[in-house]
């Protein structure tokens, strides 16, 4: 079976005000459809950088990125935006909901993005289906300030799911939530793999990582198997 995501020899150096810092050096990763992968690592180890490369927010300095059999290492910005819209969903630690919009309008953000146009009725149906998938369809007309942290994160997950992505990238999605709510959010994320969506979860929480199909640790710029470490 063709892997959905195949990273080979990926390297990335961050160049800021200080000295250049090598974050990823020769990193390999393979993810298939329907798989779930947890990535652990110390702060600053490059987890978020890796996620931004997978999600086409940024480009690797070296290596090869093949997505669904297609080399996308040097994709133009326009095509990258198209691919992000069609194939990727993102969930962040901070929910990034626009507080002046309702939950439904926040979810609609992923549909009203200039990548094709859906009639209002079809749009509404997709939004409600996404909200229903994460169990908050009844909160569609609520604005974020009136929602709890868990509810807000689920709105963010619905926004990520509304276009039926092939890959869901979650960057510490439970970081701002209590344990119980965090578990509910991880449940909602993990449920997406049942529909063939690949899930890549960056987390510090070993319990959440253990529930993923693969557990990897990012250190020294490369990924290592870490299932046993988590089980301990």
């Amino acid at each position: 079976m063709t892997p959905l995501i195949q990273l080979a020899g990926i390297s990335k150096t961050l160049r800021g005000q200080g000295a250049p810092r090598i974050v990823l050096s020769g990193l390999d990763l393979t993810v298939h459809s329907g798989e779930s992968v947890a990535i652990l690592g110390r702060s600053g180890s490059g987890k978020s950088t890796l996620l931004s490369l997978i999600g086409l927010f940024d480009r690797p300095d070296g290596g090869r990125y093949v997505f669904a059999g297609q080399d996308i290492s040097r994709l133009s910005e326009r095509r990258a935006a198209r691919l992000r819209s069609d194939s990727f969903g993102f969930v962040f630690q901070r929910f990034f909901l626009l507080k002046h919009l309702t939950a439904a309008q926040n979810v609609a953000m992923a549909l009203v993005n200039g990548q094709g146009w859906l009639p209002r009725r079809m749009r509404r149906a997709k939004i409600m289906a996404a909200l229903d998938q994460v169990g908050i369809a009844h909160l569609a007309k609520q604005k974020p300030p009136r929602l709890s942290g868990g509810e807000q994160q689920r709105v963010a997950i619905a926004r990520a799911l509304v276009r039926r992505p092939r890959v869901l990238l979650a960057d510490e999605p439970t970081g701002a939530l209590d344990t119980e709510t965090g578990n509910l959010v991880v449940d909602a994320l993990h449920a997406t793999t049942n529909h063939g969506c690949a899930l890549i979860l960056v987390t510090h929480d070993h319990d959440h990582a253990e529930r993923m199909g693969h557990v990897l640790r990012l250190s020294d710029g490369v990924l290592h198997e870490a299932r046993q470490e988590v089980s301990r």
Binding site: E77, A81, L83, F96, L98, H100, L101, A110, G114, D171
Partner: protein, 441 residues
């Protein structure tokens, strides 16, 4: 095409949401832009109104654009030929000009030379003058003239204009009171006069007997004033049927003599046949053909040239005010983009192209510009109505004036242009926000 439409719709929807979410900021931007757009609307409206007013006055005084003016030479056969040629010619009118004095015989009129009544030399006392039996007046004193001028008396001197047809086709006189000349029926021996406002001023101020002295006539007819019109003329003028005038004045009078009638023919642009006929007949009669002058009225172009400089000066000032408004939009726009960095980064993360992000910001500033333009146009329309009413007595120009559509178009263009200009830099900045911002937040 579908994608473009989708992007446009997306930009409009998201832009609208952005404005609704930041009503106060949108209002402040509108306030900063309002004066600039209003200035553009006012300048455009003012210049259109001035154009129309000037053109209307020129049409009254000279004739409508396209009218052909044919000045004919002084010759004993000129008037008979003109009268005969223009008989039953609806697209041409002959204008026979002369002087007349209405009032006491043998006195110097209160306005020698048919001068306006409010001018100091028109009061009859600045230069002593006297008029001979034929009605020709001479200035004495500094200018010189025959000695023994008659004493000043109750008489008014007018420019007398004999017409062979209804001149209003070429010069649309505005009726003030009474009736315009009736060219049907026989000529009356008591010439019917339609006077202009300046002449009315004279007859209102001075009580004069109804006796009219005509240039080149030894008998004084009794005139009847049947109406008053506005002809945009400065001097007192009376219009009369040419045949009623010529009942008392010889048609063969030589215009080359002082005070003799001059003849001009006003022709519609289509009446080229009449011009050719007149030329042929005058040539056959031995009239000096090199003294025929033909010109076509083209006032609009003339005044447009004259007004354009003033208009551009005012436009320059208005554009400066508009630029201040643009700076306001730019300022608020940059601040807003700075606040919405995460939103724009997130939008890019969910697949929104850079171009659409710029479009969202531009849509917001365009909406602001458009709303401001509508507000400025509304204020301009209401303001013009109220100003027109308030200064009705002092500025008849503004009476019944309507808001020119050109000013509305100028306002919309100014608003949209200001929105585009003010939104351009914030739009570029929004499009350049790095997507990784959301990852590092």
């Amino acid at each position: 095409m579908i994608r473009l439409s989708g992007r446009l719709r997306s930009a409009l929807i998201i832009g609208g949401q952005g404005i609704r979410a930041r009503k106060l900021r949108a209002l402040l931007s509108m306030l900063s832009l309002f004066l600039g757009v209003l200035a553009i609307v006012a300048v455009q409206a003012g210049s259109e109104i001035a154009d129309r007013a000037l053109l209307a006055d020129v049409e009254l005084a000279q004739g409508k654009d396209g009218t052909v003016q044919m000045y004919l030479p002084a010759h004993p056969r000129t008037i008979p030929i003109v009268l005969d040629t223009l008989k039953d010619a609806p697209d041409a009118v002959a204008v026979i000009e002369g002087q007349a004095i209405i009032g006491e015989p043998g006195v110097t009129p209160v306005n020698p030379g048919a001068a306006p009544f409010d001018q100091s030399f028109g009061g009859g006392s600045f230069y002593p003058t006297f008029c001979d039996a034929s009605g020709v007046c001479y200035a004495t004193g500094p200018v010189g003239g025959p000695a023994g001028a008659p004493p000043p008396g109750q008489a008014i001197e007018l420019r007398l204009v004999g017409l062979t047809g209804d001149i209003r086709r070429f010069r649309p006189f505005e009726p003030d009171s009474g009736q315009w000349l009736d060219f049907t029926g026989d000529a009356s021996l008591s010439p019917r006069l339609v006077i202009n406002r300046e002449a009315l001023k004279g007859f209102t101020r001075h009580r004069v007997p109804a006796e009219m002295r005509l240039t080149g006539s030894t008998v004084n007819p009794t005139p009847r004033i049947t109406g008053v019109v506005h002809d945009a003329g400065y001097g007192p003028t009376a219009y009369v049927r040419a045949d009623e005038l010529l009942n008392w004045q010889a048609t063969t009078a030589d215009p080359s003599r002082g005070g003799g009638p001059g003849v001009m023919v006003l022709l519609a642009p289509t009446a080229t046949g009449i011009e050719q006929t007149l030329r042929a007949r005058l040539a056959a009669a031995g009239a000096p053909m090199d003294q025929i002058y033909v010109s076509t009225i083209n006032s609009r172009e003339h005044f447009t040239d004259q007004l354009s400089l003033v208009r551009w000066i005012f436009y320059g000032m208005a554009i400066l005010v508009l630029l201040i408004g643009v700076a306001g939009i730019l300022n608020v726009g940059l601040a807003t983009v700075g606040e919405r960095v995460e939103e724009f980064a997130l939008r890019r993360a969910v697949g929104t192209p850079r171009l659409l992000l710029a479009g969202i910001v531009l849509a917001e500033t365009l909406f602001i510009g458009l709303f401001t333009a509508l507000a400025a146009i509304g204020v301009g329309m209401v303001g013009l109505t109220y100003v027109g009413r308030a200064v009705d007595r002092f500025a008849p120009l503004l009476r019944d004036v309507t808001f020119p559509w050109q000013a509305g178009v100028a306002g919309v263009i100014a608003g949209v242009a200001a929105g585009l200009l003010g939104g351009l830099v914030p739009a570029v900045r929004a499009a350049r926000i790095p997507i990784a911002t959301v990852m590092r937040a």
